[in-house]
């Protein structure tokens, strides 16, 4: 062989086969019935050199259009310091497996412990697991956790102000897991209190899932919700945009039992949808019901402070068919990503990021309403850095127009509603360029008319 990922020389192969008592590589497959053996060549291209690969992806990349991003909806364009990306490529982190051999995995174990600590701080909860795939599956896991906790109840309520992308995943898991999902209506951009009260009072609900900020960017007032859930023996599950938790009232402060969501907003590149990291935090009381891995502190034989995977009896590979979650990994490297991000940003940096998003979004909202063609869909509702506007303009045409100017102008919700997002990445110039592009579109429409 003479290929860069195979170290075997012809002589190596000969000697090794000899040790095995076999004459050829084919003989190593003599236990496979010959009618099952694949006999033709794979219909795949010839090997690419590194140069070929770079050319190929450069060319494919040219079919993507980089856009100035005014969309959030579960994925946010935040800045990540250079340190984070640099550290992520350290192969001691990158090329290791799950830290089963704790003696040579203290790096991984220790950053997961830091991650758990930071997520607990951020959400105001007591404990966190070692991370999950993404915010959607973490929410589905929280739903299953609530149902397992309630034992004989299999109904979960979910607010219509939840990001529909999350709800879609929750509903898929529910369908197969035998959980009934009922929706709580939205009124003026927030969850209907009266609909919630009516549905929870039936006494057959295992968990209630709400969002903050919600899908429309609004900060809802959940005063009294936890008490009402608990009075009816249901768990309150709150899905939050992680970055926003730097400033907004936490699930812990609202009295929630489980905090879940996506950690992507903590600087993880948008990466066309993944990898991100889901978080799931809860109370100490519910730690044994929590899915996923947990790292705990202990000592080694010399008494040194060390970290190790713990409470593994809860996990799927031990519980097998009695499991209530099948997750058997975490999104470790992405947990490292957000841990380093939070180490650098600290409490002050997260606040600044939120302040800038707030300022930019409120500036954009004001400028849009000044065009006379947009108004806030939910006037009077407090929002952080995402908001919905109502318009009679043709949103598809408007977005195409802006794409030609290199701008992604929000996410179309329906024919009259547009969801926009501003992060610290958007300068005043970029926001003004969006407004200008929209104004040009309005003008061109008027000319045509």
């Amino acid at each position: 062989m003479n290929y860069k990922f195979f170290p075997h020389t012809d002589e190596d192969i000969r000697v090794m086969l000899n040790t095995c008592g076999e004459r050829s590589l084919d003989d190593l497959y003599k236990d496979v019935p010959s009618e099952l053996v694949f006999k033709r060549e794979y219909a795949l291209p010839d090997a690419f050199s590194e140069v070929d690969i770079r050319r190929y992806f450069d060319e494919l990349g040219s079919f993507n259009t980089p856009l100035t991003c005014f969309v959030g909806a579960g994925c946010y364009d935040h800045y990540s310091p250079s340190v984070v990306n640099d550290m992520m490529r350290r192969s001691e982190f990158l090329t290791s497996y799950t830290p089963y051999q704790a003696e040579i995995s203290q790096g991984t174990l220790q950053y997961i412990f830091e991650y758990q600590s930071m997520m607990a701080e951020l959400t105001g909860m007591e404990v966190s697991n070692a991370s999950m795939y993404d915010g959607c599956t973490a929410t589905a896991e929280a739903m299953m956790m609530a149902v397992a906790n309630a034992k004989k109840r299999n109904k979960v309520l979910i607010s219509d102000t939840m990001n529909p992308i999350v709800t879609r995943v929750v509903e898929t898991y529910a369908k197969f897991h035998g959980v009934v999902v009922e929706h709580i209506k939205a009124e003026n951009g927030v969850t209907s209190r009266s609909d919630f009260e009516e549905k929870i009072a039936k006494g057959d609900v295992a968990g209630v899932i709400v969002a903050s900020p919600n899908f429309y960017g609004i900060l809802e007032d959940y005063t009294g919700w936890a008490d009402l859930c608990h009075a009816n023996k249901a768990l309150l599950i709150m899905n939050c945009v992680a970055s926003a938790l730097g400033v907004i009232k936490t699930p812990g402060e609202w009295g929630a039992d489980i905090a879940v969501g996506d950690g992507q907003s903590l600087g993880i590149p948008m990466n066309f949808g993944g990898p991100y990291v889901g978080y799931l935090c809860t109370s100490k009381k519910l730690i044994r019901k929590m899915p996923g891995r947990i790292v705990g502190a202990t000592t080694d034989a010399d008494g040194k402070r060390t970290f190790v995977l713990t409470l593994q009896a809860r996990e799927q590979h031990i519980r097998r068919e009695k499991a209530t979650s099948n997750i058997c990994s975490n999104e470790s490297l992405m947990a490292l990503y957000v841990t380093i991000y939070m180490s650098l940003m600290g409490k002050q940096g997260l606040r600044e990021v939120n302040e800038m998003g707030y300022s930019g979004a409120h500036y954009l909202a004001e400028k849009l309403s000044e065009t006379g063609k947009f108004e806030l869909a939910y006037p009077g509702q407090p929002f952080l850095n995402e908001f919905v506007v109502k318009t009679d303009l043709d949103i598809d045409q408007l977005q195409d127009w802006c794409v030609d100017e290199g701008i992604q102008a929000g996410l179309k919700l329906d024919d009259h509603h547009l969801l926009l997002c501003v992060t610290e990445m958007r300068s005043k110039n970029e926001i003004d360029a969006l407004i200008e592009s929209i104004q040009d579109f309005i003008n061109s429409n008027q000319e045509e008319a």
Partner: protein, 495 residues
Amino acid sequence: MNNVYYGKLIFELSREGRRGYSLPKNEMSEYKLESLPGTLLRSEAPGLPECDELTVVRHYTNMSNNNFGVDTGFYPLGSCTMKYNPKINEDMAAHPAFSGLHPLQSIDTVQGALEVYYKLQESLAELAGMKEFTLNPFAGAHGELTGLMVMRSYHMSRGDVKRTKVIVPDSAHGTNPASAAVCGLDVVVVKSRPDGTVDVDDLRPLLDDTIAGMMMTNPNTLGIFEHSIAEIAKLVHDCGGLMYYDGANLNPMLGKVRPGDIGFDIMHINLHKTFSTPHGGGGPGSGPVGVRAGLEQFLPSPHVVRQDIDEDSYRYDVEFGGDSLGSISGFLGNFAVMMRAYTYILSLGHENVKMVGPLATLNANYIKESLKDVYELPLEGVCKHEFVFDGLKDKSTGVTTLDVAKRLLDYGFHAPTIYFPLLFHEALMVEPCETESKETLDAFIAVMRKIAQEAKEEPEMVKTAPHCTPVRRLDDTKAALQQIVTYAELRSMEN
């Protein structure tokens, strides 16, 4: 690996007022976050550390020095396929023309990314002998769950609602029964024969019209090819069930066998095993699910499709709904992991990909044959990519598989998988990938022999191993009892 212990936590390096970031000036600061109602804001800032940049860099660098990866040394961890993770993969995953794309951008502005997705699913379909793949699942276990959802959707679409059981061999990965349980299926266990393969006689009576399907790995967790697979598949199909292939052990099949050709209907692939994407200390992975023709309509949404415009132009689109089982991910899965896997497939090309299986298999058999005189080999004969020893041959020393594993760490090797599969008491499961050289294998063999010798001569030393690692054996029981899982708890305990 540096064996100097580094045990500080970032919180302990924090000093009030330090900064590790810089952000642009807020040009619209007249819009103040403080104008939000106070009842909607947190009462105090989160207890995150405050550190300067170099402190953060040194902290995580020192931590990484206490970690062992494939780049550090040989990682013969059974069933985990710890092969080399090529560096070009990382460069392509970070390609700026892809990494900055928002998943909800207008479809016409992400055609390059969708082409990567489409071409990778097409390549996997060719390699696996399946009709079509979804790349949305985030991990192997997530793929299993998705695959079982396909299985249930298929039966439900036919109104065949009583099929609620899935058959799983007793040697299966623990994830198989757990995935079945989460998917709302009851697990029926089928026994293994003394040679480690599925007992067809035990299987027959289990088959009836309540069986949704059967999950198998092939080769199985003992590294043995399930030679009765054709008969098993026929039995399961005849009773109306579907065959699910757990792709955890796909590596030795590359170049030799395609799951779709030997009777499997649904499968998942672990891109982080067979297709060289890094394990990242436990993730992110990717668990694409493939199906044979006739099941593709059940794959999850969103689904990437190619629409031919005319003879030489086409466009990619993203579809929802139809008979799809629903969504199992927010967007299109772990895209950056797909970039790596597709880079790997292109790097290998058809002429090298076919050598992956045979060379991995050669490496496994070479180690097995070189050590079977000192370690107990319960099953003779050729193995595939991995094999299992049942501990040391000489059991009189009292040295266990755990001790051998820990002693290996002293010699700079990662340990094999231990105490799995559950079929043996002292299981030691070795998987050397095709990227390992004969010299590396010889060094491992020499150390394994030396440990066997040490077990006889200095058993206490082996039982108290490791001795040369950054930390010594850890107290697992203490961790479980004290349940200290955050810095806040640790601080209050230590003070």
